[in-house]
Amino acid sequence: MCLVALASPINCVETDLTADFRDQFLLCYQHMLLARVLEEKLGSLYRAGGRIVGGVYLGKGQEAFSAALGVQLRKGKDIYGPLIRDQAGRIAFGEPILDCVRTYLGAVTGPMRGRDGNIHRGRPKEGLLAMISHLGSLLSVVAGGLFARRLAGTLGDSIGATSIGDGGTSTGAFHEALNMAAVEKLPIVVSVANNQYAYSTPNTRQYACENLVDRAVGYGVSGMVVDATDLASCLKAFRAAVAQARSGGGPQMIVGTLLRLAGHGEHDDASYIPDQKRRDPSARDCLQVAEDFARDHGWMSSAELRDFNEEVRRTVDLTISKVSKEPTPDPFKEKWQALSCADLVEGQHEA
């Protein structure tokens, strides 16, 4: 087990580019584009008003980092706890975009049935945990799933994976859970998307270590830094981390450096991010970087890119128009039952 936190970021080099790598790269690119187009659509629905009540939170700029982890996971075997900006990772894991749209629009047909919304969705029995808002609280839950499997002798080579932002790493819950996962040597990959801001708060007000990955050493966890705008480097890092975790290497922490290319939510114009920061290499658009990379390596022609783009847009439009016709929740049909044991639910002691 590698206990050294690498100070210099993981970089992808030509020798890494096997056929398998190329296939995964192209798959990721497709997931990223679908996520981007879908989220743009959700953003415009939000701005148009009416259909989406409540916030819309985009993963713009974080698709490569998110998808590169999601694509390593095997639905039905691994446990995934995505967070705010993981639309691409969710798609890569196998969450249908129908689940996303239905949850944003509050359709009863969706996994959350209008009870919870937007990014707060999942299908826990399919290994896709449904985040609560309270940051930091997901990691221990992923750990618990793996712990139980190990107890039951069903762990095999399955792993858990979850994400957090730079801000979320400041929670006690995150520290406690990472320590616990390390003590238990659980096969967990923790991806830390350091997009340099937590809402409006810059890194300088969030942590005082040189790099967030420095923390990995303190917990006895393997750590790597990666340029999260570069899909190839992200893939290399997550492929290595997942392989380590699957083969008994314990928790792996990957810190991705990037910039949030959207507001905290669509209500936020992010005017607190200085222009100069937006010209930083960390502000590169990962989608563009990946597209250039694929084209430069002859993995995808411009025509193929264009066709694919159109197909993605069609898929998103169809999904949204389908869900728009689906029923929203009816309070009179709603069970209003917070316990699974129906016989223990109290009557409404009210007027």
């Binding site: 801000g167 400041s170 809402y199 942590y207 929203t328 929740p329 109290e346 009210e350």
Partner: protein
């Protein structure tokens, strides 16, 4: 010139900072950004080095406020949403609430909690935490319903030598306006008669005061005069004002937006039935939200919480008894 509930909260913090050098503000995104709801807008500019962005560390935020208070500071902590105060729960109920009792050293901290439901906010950005905190000895819990109270009760909270949980309702932030902030009328611990009446009493607080007033208007069309008591502070609770009102009307509806089990409405009813049973002409009633987490979709959300029409229906049943 009018002022909103939210602006009143901002103004009160301005005054607190201006008058008392021991006051400082600590919370996520509250400095340059001015807070998620803009309740601290420009304050970091006007008071450099007294308004600080905190990491996402609610437990440590409250702990540091307690330590600072021991040293003579009077910190105001902003929770980004009341819901996230659960992460600082231990420090609030075990450290802050017990400090004076254990050590004779008071703990003058104010924790601002943007509370209550708004459409589309879902289970983790809508909670009302007043009942939870009221359960613990050693805390003062206030829940202003008016622009004046938002202002004066925040200033009073900061001056108070005990930990105060200041529950500000997000629904009132922009909706509620006053022409100006009037004089300070009542201290923390005193309830207010928001509307006089003689046929039934609604005891409530925070945003539900306004739903209650609208329901009272509706009942007026049927010839009923409903008295509305605004608790203002949940703990201490002004039992005398409640009992005096029930003595006038003989009927009680305890109303709250929070979850139904236990809580403020249960406390109101317990006090009235044990201390004023003889005043009641009908069994006292309660109306709260439903006993599930707070739903995201507006259709469900509207049915989850009490509304003018469910309050009016409850009043009609109460009056028919």
């Amino acid at each position: 010139m009018s002022i909103t509930y939210l602006e009143a909260i901002r103004e009160a913090q301005y005054e607190a900072l201006r008058h008392d050098p021991s006051v400082f503000l600590y919370g996520q995104d509250i400095a340059t950004f001015g807070g998620a709801f803009k309740a601290t807008k420009n304050l970091s500019k006007e008071f450099p080095n007294r308004v600080f962005d905190a990491p996402i560390s609610e437990d440590a935020m409250v702990g540091m406020a307690i330590g600072a208070a021991v040293e003579g500071a009077r910190p105001i902590i902003e929770m980004q949403f009341a819901d996230f105060s659960s992460v600082g729960f231990n420090q609030i109920v075990n450290q802050a609430a017990t400090l004076y009792w254990r050590t004779n050293v008071p703990c003058p901290i104010t924790i601002r909690m943007p509370s209550g439901g708004t459409a589309g906010s879902g289970p983790f950005h809508s909670q009302s935490m007043e009942a939870i905190y009221s359960h613990y000895p050693g805390l003062v819990i206030v829940a202003p319903a008016t622009v004046e109270d938002a202002y004066w009760m925040l200033l009073d909270s900061v001056k108070l030598n005990d930990p105060v949980i200041y529950c500000e309702h997000k629904f009132l932030y922009y909706h509620l306006k006053a022409e100006q902030i009037g004089d300070r009328e009542l201290p923390i611990g005193k309830a207010r008669i928001a509307r006089p009446g003689r046929h039934a009493t609604i005891v409530t607080y925070s945003a539900m005061v306004h739903e209650a007033l609208r329901a009272a208007e509706e009942l007026q069309l049927d010839g009923y005069q409903i008295e509305v008591v605004d608790l203002r502070s949940v703990k201490p609770m002004d039992t005398d004002t409640i009992l005096a009102s029930v003595a006038r009307t003989g009927r009680l509806l305890a109303l709250g937006e929070a979850f139904p089990w236990g809580g403020v409405t249960a406390e109101v009813i317990a006090r009235v039935t044990s201390e004023g049973f003889h005043l009641l002409d009908a069994p006292p009633m309660r109306l709260n939200s439903k006993d599930t987490p707070i739903p995201y979709h507006p259709n469900l959300w509207k049915s989850h919480r009490p509304t003018t029409s469910t309050i009016a229906a409850a009043l009609r049943r109460l009056l028919r008894y």
